[in-house]
Symmetry: C2
Subunit: 324 residues, 2 copies
C-alpha cells in the first residue's frame, strides 16, 4: 500500500500528451494494491466538460511485463462487451502500455464507487451476476494465461513454509495442511469448463455504488482456469467475516443465486464446489502463510493472517452442504 515510483508534474504532463489526454489538472499517488504504484490523474477535457480521471499504474517488479498484453487486453475486451471493468487507455500509437523510466506504465479508466467492508445480500447478488457476466464475456477473448497460483504452486509455497514454519504460525496449521493438501490435490478436477477467471475477486476489488457493481478491478491474477473455481474463490472472499470465524449464509445464497441467474452451473460444476472452495481456501492460506514467514521486517506491506483461511478451509470441510 505505497507509492514506490516517484513521478512529478513534468512526467504526467508528458504522459498525458503521449496518451492523447488533455491538460494536466491534478495527480496524486494513492494507497492501492500491494505491489504496484498507482496514481489518480485528472486531465481537462476540451469543451468545458468535467475533467477526465484516470488511474495510472506503474508496474513494479512483482508484475511480469510479458503478462500485460493479457491483463490490459482483457480489460478492453470486457469493457467493450459491457462488463463493469475499467477500459485501458491506449497511447497515440495504439499501445496499451508504455515503458517509462525503465518501468511499464498504463493509463486505465477511473471508475467511481466504494469497496464495501460489510456487504449486503443485494450487493453479493450483484457481484455474483457481474462475475458470471465476465465469465461469459471472456469466452471469445483470444488470449490465455496459465494460473501461476494454481494447485502446484500451493504445494510449493507450503513446502517452502515447512512443518516448523506452519507450527510457528499456529499449532493447528501444520496438521490441517498435512491432511487437506494431499486430499485436495488428489481430487482436483480437470474436466470442468474453463474460461478466463478473475481469481482474486475480494471485496477490495469491487467498486459499488449502492447495490450496483460500478467496477471490477485489479485483474492482475486473471488467468485461464476452471470457471467454477472462480465462483469458489469469490465465495471464500465474500461469505465470511475477515477473520474467517463467521459464515454468512444469506451472502452465500445471494452470491450463488446472482451468479446462476446469468450463468447456471452444470451439475458437475455444482458438485465440485465443496472441493473447489477447499482449494480456494488453501490457495490464500498458502500465500498468506508464506508471506507471514518471509515478509521482511519493515516492509511496507501488512501481513495478513493465514488462519483466516485455515478457518474457512475447516468450515468448507465440515459444511459441504452450503453448496447444496
Amino acid at each position: 500500500m505505497a507509492v514506490y515510483t516517484h513521478l512529478d508534474d513534468g512526467d504526467f504532463r508528458y504522459l498525458a500528451g503521449e496518451f492523447g489526454l488533455g491538460e494536466l489538472r491534478f495527480y496524486k499517488g494513492i494507497a492501492e494494491g500491494i505491489s504496484n504504484s498507482n496514481f489518480i490523474v485528472e486531465t481537462a477535457r476540451p469543451d468545458g466538460q468535467a475533467p477526465a480521471r484516470h488511474i495510472v499504474t506503474v508496474y513494479e517488479e512483482r508484475t511480469d511485463v510479458r503478462d500485460l498484453p493479457f491483463f490490459l487486453g482483457l480489460l478492453d475486451h470486457l469493457a467493450r462487451k459491457g462488463c463493469p471493468v475499467p477500459a485501458t487507455i491506449h497511447d497515440r500509437e495504439g499501445r496499451p502500455f508504455r515503458e517509462y523510466n525503465g518501468k511499464a506504465l498504463a493509463f486505465i479508466e477511473f471508475l467511481p464507487g466504494i469497496t464495501v467492508s460489510h456487504p449486503t445480500p443485494e450487493q453479493a447478488r450483484a457481484v455474483g451476476s457481474a462475475l458470471a457476466r465476465v465469465h461469459l464475456a471472456a469466452a471469445d477473448f483470444g488470449q490465455s494465461r496459465a494460473n501461476d497460483m494454481g494447485p502446484a504452486r500451493w504445494r510449493e509455497l507450503l513446502d517452502g513454509c515447512g512443518h516448523d514454519g506452519l507450527m510457528g504460525i499456529d499449532p493447528a496449521l501444520a496438521p490441517l495442511v498435512a491432511s487437506e493438501l494431499p486430499a485436495i490435490l488428489e481430487a482436483w478436477p480437470n474436466d470442468l469448463p474453463r474460461s478466463v477467471i478473475h481469481a482474486d475477486l475480494f471485496p477490495d476489488n469491487v467498486l459499488m455504488l449502492g447495490d450496483e457493481v460500478a467496477g471490477l478491478i485489479d485483474f492482475y491474477f486473471a488467468c485461464t482456469d476452471l470457471t467454477a473455481y472462480d465462483v469458489a474463490v469469490t465465495h471464500a472472499a465474500w461469505c465470511f467475516d475477515p477473520t474467517g470465524e463467521t459464515f454468512d449464509p444469506a451472502i452465500s445464497a445471494a452470491l450463488l443465486g446472482g451468479y446462476e441467474t446469468v450463468r447456471p452451473l452444470s451439475a458437475a460444476e455444482h458438485g465440485a464446489l465443496p472441493l473447489l472452495a477447499r482449494g480456494a481456501a488453501m490457495r490464500f492460506l498458502a500465500t498468506r502463510a508464506y508471506d507471514w514467514l518471509y515478509t521482511p521486517e519493515g516492509a511496507l506491506v501488512t501481513r495478513k493472517d493465514p488462519m483466516a483461511f485455515a478457518r474457512r478451509l475447516q468450515f468448507y470441510r465440515q459444511n459441504s452442504g452450503v453448496f447444496a
Copy 2:
C-alpha cells in the same frame, strides 16, 4: 508519505453524514504529507451536480490537537477573505474537526491543481502575490500561535545532532553551522512587522492551474512570526533546484516582484532579507540534519538531504545582493 490510519466505507459513510455531506461515492487513501493520514473522499450532491470532493485528514501523533483550532480556523478565515486556500468543512454541530476512534479528523475542501517541480517565473510571481495576500488577509484573524520551529529550535536540533553527527553527514556541515548559527541568532531581528505566516511554502504546498495559484495548502507549520521571514522561507524554497546548487535569478525576481505588488516590504524588512534567508536555510538545514541522523531504519518517510540547505545558506551568505 503513507496512510497510517485505516478507515473503511462504513467509517466514511458515517462521517459524511456527520459532516452533512451526501452519499459516499468514492474514497481512497493518498500519499500526501509526512505525518498525517489523508484521503480523497467524494460524495454525491443532491441535484445532479458533479460530486463534491474533500480531503479528509486524520491527525497522527506529530500534530498537536490543541493547534487545530488555529490551523483550521485560519483556513476558514483566509478562504472567506478570498485567498486560494481550502475551506474547512464543519460538522452538523459547527465543529471544524472531530475526534474519531481516538484521533482528530477534519474534512477540508478539495482543490484541483498540480504541484510544479520546475516553476516558471510567471508561476513564481503568482506565488509571491498569493503569499502577500495571505499576509494581509490574516491581519484580522483573531488567533495567534508561537513558531515552534523558530531560531531557538534550530539551536536545539543542531545541538541534538552534535559535532560528530554533522561531520558524519558532511565534513563541511559542522564548521558551517559553527560559524553561521551564532551569527544568525545574534543578529536575528525582533522589531519587524509580524503576522500569521505559512512558514513552509514549498512548491509541494502550492497547487497551480497553468500560471494561476489554485491553492495554498498544508498550513500545519503556520504560526505568528516575522512576516518577512515567510518571504525568505518561500524564497529559499522556490529559487533553487532541489539540490540547492543552482540559484535561479529570474524566479527570485518574479517571486519578490509578485509579493511586493500586493504588499511592499518596508525598508527595514527589505534590509533584513539576507539575514532572514540565511535563517530560513538554517531552519530547514536543522530539521533535515536531525531527521537524517534520527529517522529510524525502515521508516516510511524519505530522508531529505540537509546539504541542499547548507548550499542555500552558503549562497545567501555570499550573495546578499540578490535582495538588493
